[in-house]
C-alpha cells in the first residue's frame, strides 16, 4: 500500500465544517433576513404568551361597551370591538390561529410538493407525465372562485382549512423539487451510490433530497407567507375560521364595516399581516442567499 499520507492535508484541529454551520455564518450577514427572523421570533413569543397574560379571554364581552367599537384606553390598549371584546387579546389570539394555519398549511404544501416533485423527477417517464399534468391542472384552478363556491356549501373546521390551504399552494414546490431531482439524479455521486446497489428510495431521500434541501427550505418559507395570505383572504371572505374564534383575516373583515369610525380596529391586523408576510419573504430570500451561494 502507499505508505506516505498526502501532504497538505486538512488541519486536524479545526472542527469539521458542516453544511449548516456554513449556512448560519452566511445567513447572519444578511441584515434584512436577520431582522425578518427576529421579528418572526418576537411575534411568535407575543402570540404564544400574550393571550395568557391578558386579563380577558378572546371571547369575553364587556356588556357596558356593547354596540360601538370602544377607543384605546388603559384597560383596552387597542380598544374594543362592537361586541365589547378586547381588540389586543383578539389580535394576539388571531395571530396564533393565523400563524398556526399558515405554518401547518405550508408544511402540508411542502410535504405534498416534495413527494410529488421527488417521484416525478426521480422516476421520470410515465409517473412524471401523470404527476406534472395533475400539477398543471391544480395550478389552473382559480383559487378564490373555487373557495367562494365551496363556502356556499360548507364551513370548514380548522384542520380542514389547513388541508385546503396546503392543497392550494403545493404546486410551486412540486415543480421546483422536480427540477432539482432531474438535475441531481444525473450527478456522479448519485450514480456512485447506484453502483453500490442503493435502492431508489435511498437514492431519493439519502442522496438527492439533502442536496435539494436549500431550495426546498426557501420555497417552504415563502409558502408560509402565501399560506398566511391565503388564510387571511379566506377568513376575510367568511370562508375560514369562523367567529368568535379570531384570525387576522376575520378581524379585518369585521373591522372593515367600522373603518371610518374606528380605524384602530382594522389597522393592527392589517399591519401584522403585511409585516409578517414581509418578514417571511425577507427570511426566505436570506435563506436562499445563505444556502445557495453563487461563489
Amino acid at each position: 500500500m502507499t505508505d506516505a499520507t498526502v501532504p497538505g492535508a486538512i488541519n486536524p484541529a479545526a472542527p469539521p465544517q458542516t453544511y449548516w454551520r456554513r449556512v448560519l455564518k452566511r445567513f447572519l450577514k444578511r441584515r434584512l433576513a436577520v431582522i425578518g427572523a427576529a421579528f418572526l421570533v418576537l411575534l411568535g413569543i407575543a402570540v404564544t404568551i400574550g393571550p395568557m397574560l391578558s386579563p380577558y379571554s378572546y371571547d369575553y364581552q364587556d356588556f357596558d361597551l356593547l354596540g360601538m367599537p370602544g377607543p384605546m384606553s388603559a384597560e383596552h390598549w387597542l380598544g374594543t370591538d362592537e361586541l365589547g371584546r378586547d381588540a389586543l387579546t383578539r389580535l394576539l389570539h388571531g395571530g396564533r390561529v393565523s400563524l398556526a394555519v399558515g405554518l401547518a398549511g405550508a408544511m402540508i404544501a411542502g410535504i405534498v410538493g416534495t413527494l410529488v416533485g421527488a417521484v416525478s423527477g426521480f422516476y421520470r417517464g410515465i409517473p412524471d407525465v401523470i404527476l406534472m399534468r395533475f400539477t398543471d391542472v391544480m395550478m389552473s384552478i382559480p383559487t378564490l372562485p373555487l373557495v367562494l363556491l365551496l363556502s356556499g356549501l360548507f364551513r370548514p373546521s380548522p384542520p380542514l382549512l389547513v388541508a385546503i390551504v396546503g392543497i392550494l399552494i403545493w404546486m410551486g414546490t412540486a415543480r421546483l423539487v422536480r427540477s432539482q431531482f432531474l438535475a441531481l439524479r444525473e450527478r456522479e455521486f448519485v450514480e456512485a451510490a447506484r453502483a453500490l446497489g442503493a435502492s431508489g428510495p435511498r437514492l431519493m431521500f439519502r442522496h438527492i433530497l439533502p442536496n435539494a434541501i436549500g431550495p426546498i427550505t426557501v420555497a417552504s418559507t415563502l409558502a408560509v407567507g402565501s399560506a398566511i395570505m391565503l388564510e387571511s383572504a379566506l377568513s376575510f371572505l367568511g370562508f375560514g375560521i369562523q367567529p368568535p374564534v379570531p384570525t387576522w383575516g376575520n378581524l379585518l373583515n369585521s373591522a372593515s364595516s367600522w373603518l371610518s369610525q374606528a380605524p384602530w380596529l382594522a389597522i393592527p391586523p392589517g399591519l401584522l399581516i403585511l409585516f409578517t408576510v414581509l418578514a417571511v419573504n425577507f427570511l426566505g430570500d436570506g435563506l436562499r442567499d445563505a444556502m445557495e451561494p453563487r461563489e
Binding site: T2, V6, I10, Y19, F189, A195, G197, P210
Partner: protein, 330 residues
C-alpha cells in the same frame, strides 16, 4: 489466463430520440455491437474521442445504463439479465471510479458516511468495526484516518479522487471501471493517482477497465487497449503491439495527436479534421471513412468486420493489410 473475468458480447446501447405520439423519432446508437474481455488482474484501456461511447460503455458494463442488446458476464454471471436483488450483491464485485472528483462525492455526507454507506449496503463488518475499516481504507489510499469526519469540500481534487477510490475499494471488488480518473486533475496530481492505481492493482489483483484519452497514461498502465470510434471498436490489441504498430488509421491518428516531448522530431502525421459524425446518422460502411485519409470507395459499401490481424490484435479496416501505419517513434 484461463476464463476471463469480464466478457462483453455484442453490447448495444441505443437511445430513441424525439419520439412522440405523433412522430416516430430517430435512434442514437451510442454503442453498436462492442465485444471484448478483461482477464483476471488485467488492465484494459479504452480510448477514443469525446462522444465515441467510452463512458457509455463503462456504464453499460456495470448496468448503470441499461443495454439495448448484448450480454455482459462477470465471472460467469450474466450482469445484463440479473434480477435487482442479485444484481445488488454482484455490485460489490464491480465498482466504478469517476472522472470529476468534485461531482462524485455527496457534498452533504462526511467521508466516513460515504464509505460507511458502501459497507452498510453490502453488510460488510459489524457496526462497531466499520469505523476501523473506514480508517484502514483511508490509509490504503494515502489519506489520514481523521479524514473520515471531514466533508468533501474540505479536500483538494486529488484527495477527493482518493476518497472516490476508497469508496470503490470499500466493497472489495474484483473489477473496477475507472472512467477518466485523472483527466480532471493537475498533471502533478495525476501521477500520484496513477501510481496509487498501479499499486492497488498489484496489491489487490484488481482488474480494471481504464477509460482515458491520455495515451501515455494508457500505455503506462494498461496491458491491452481498445480503440473506440462512434460506438464501435476500431482496433484492439496489446498496449505494446498497438502503440508500436497501429493497424487502423484512427489509432494512428490518435497516436499522432498526442504531444511528443521533443520538438526536433519531425514526423508524418495523420491529422483528424472536423468532428465526429452524428451518431444519429452514422456514415455507411466504415464509420471512420468520412475522416480517414485512406478512404476508398469500397469503405462506404462494406462494414469492416473486426478481424484478427496478428496474435491477439484485432482491427476493423478493410485496408489494414495494405497500409503500413507503424509508429516511427516507437
Amino acid at each position: 489466463m484461463a476464463e476471463p473475468l469480464l466478457v462483453v458480447d455484442d453490447l448495444k446501447v441505443h437511445y430513441p430520440l424525439g419520439k412522440t405520439l405523433f412522430k416516430p423519432g430517430v435512434t442514437l446508437k451510442a454503442l453498436d455491437g462492442v465485444s471484448f474481455t478483461v482477464g483476471r488482474g488485467e488492465v484494459v484501456g479504452l480510448v477514443g474521442e469525446s462522444g465515441s461511447g467510452k463512458t457509455t460503455l463503462g456504464r453499460a458494463v456495470l448496468r448503470l445504463v441499461e443495454p439495448t442488446a448484448g450480454k455482459v458476464h462477470l465471472d460467469g454471471k450474466d450482469v445484463t439479465a440479473l434480477p435487482p436483488a442479485e444484481l445488488k450483491s454482484l455490485r460489490s464485485r464491480m465498482q466504478i471510479i469517476f472522472q470529476d472528483p468534485y461531482a462524485s462525492l455527496n457534498p452533504r455526507m462526511s467521508v466516513g458516511q460515504t464509505l460507511g454507506e458502501a459497507l452498510m449496503l453490502h453488510r460488510i463488518g459489524t457496526r462497531k468495526d466499520r469505523d476501523q475499516r473506514i480508517g484502514d481504507l483511508l490509509e490504503k489510499v494515502g489519506l489520514p484516518r481523521t479524514a473520515a469526519a471531514r466533508f468533501p469540500h474540505e479536500f483538494s481534487g486529488g484527495q477527493r479522487q482518493r476518497i472516490g477510490i476508497a469508496r470503490a475499494l470499500a466493497v472489495n471488488p474484483e473489477f473496477i471501471v475507472a472512467d477518466e480518473p485523472v483527466s480532471a486533475l493537475d498533471v502533478s496530481i495525476q501521477a500520484q493517482i496513477i501510481n496509487l492505481l498501479q499499486d492497488l492493482r498489484k496489491d489487490l489483483g484488481l482488474s480494471l477497465l481504464f477509460i482515458g484519452h491520455d495515451l501515455s497514461v494508457i500505455e503506462f498502465l494498461c496491458d491491452r487497449v481498445i480503440v473506440l470510434y462512434l460506438g464501435r471498436v476500431m482496433e484492439m490489441g496489446t498496449a505494446a503491439g498497438l502503440y508500436a504498430k497501429p493497424r487502423h488509421p484512427y489509432t494512428r491518428a490518435l497516436l499522432d495527436a498526442a504531444p511528443v516531448p521533443d520538438p526536433t522530431i519531425r514526423r508524418e502525421r495523420i491529422t483528424l479534421k472536423g468532428d465526429l459524425p452524428s451518431p444519429v446518422s452514422p456514415p455507411s460502411g466504415c464509420v471512420f471513412r468520412t475522416r480517414c485519409p485512406y478512404a476508398i470507395e469500397r469503405c462506404a459499401q462494406v462494414v469492416p468486420p473486426l478481424e484478427e490481424a496478428a496474435n491477439g490484435h484485432r482491427v476493423a479496416c478493410i485496408q489494414s493489410h495494405e497500409l503500413d501505419l507503424s509508429n516511427p517513434l516507437a
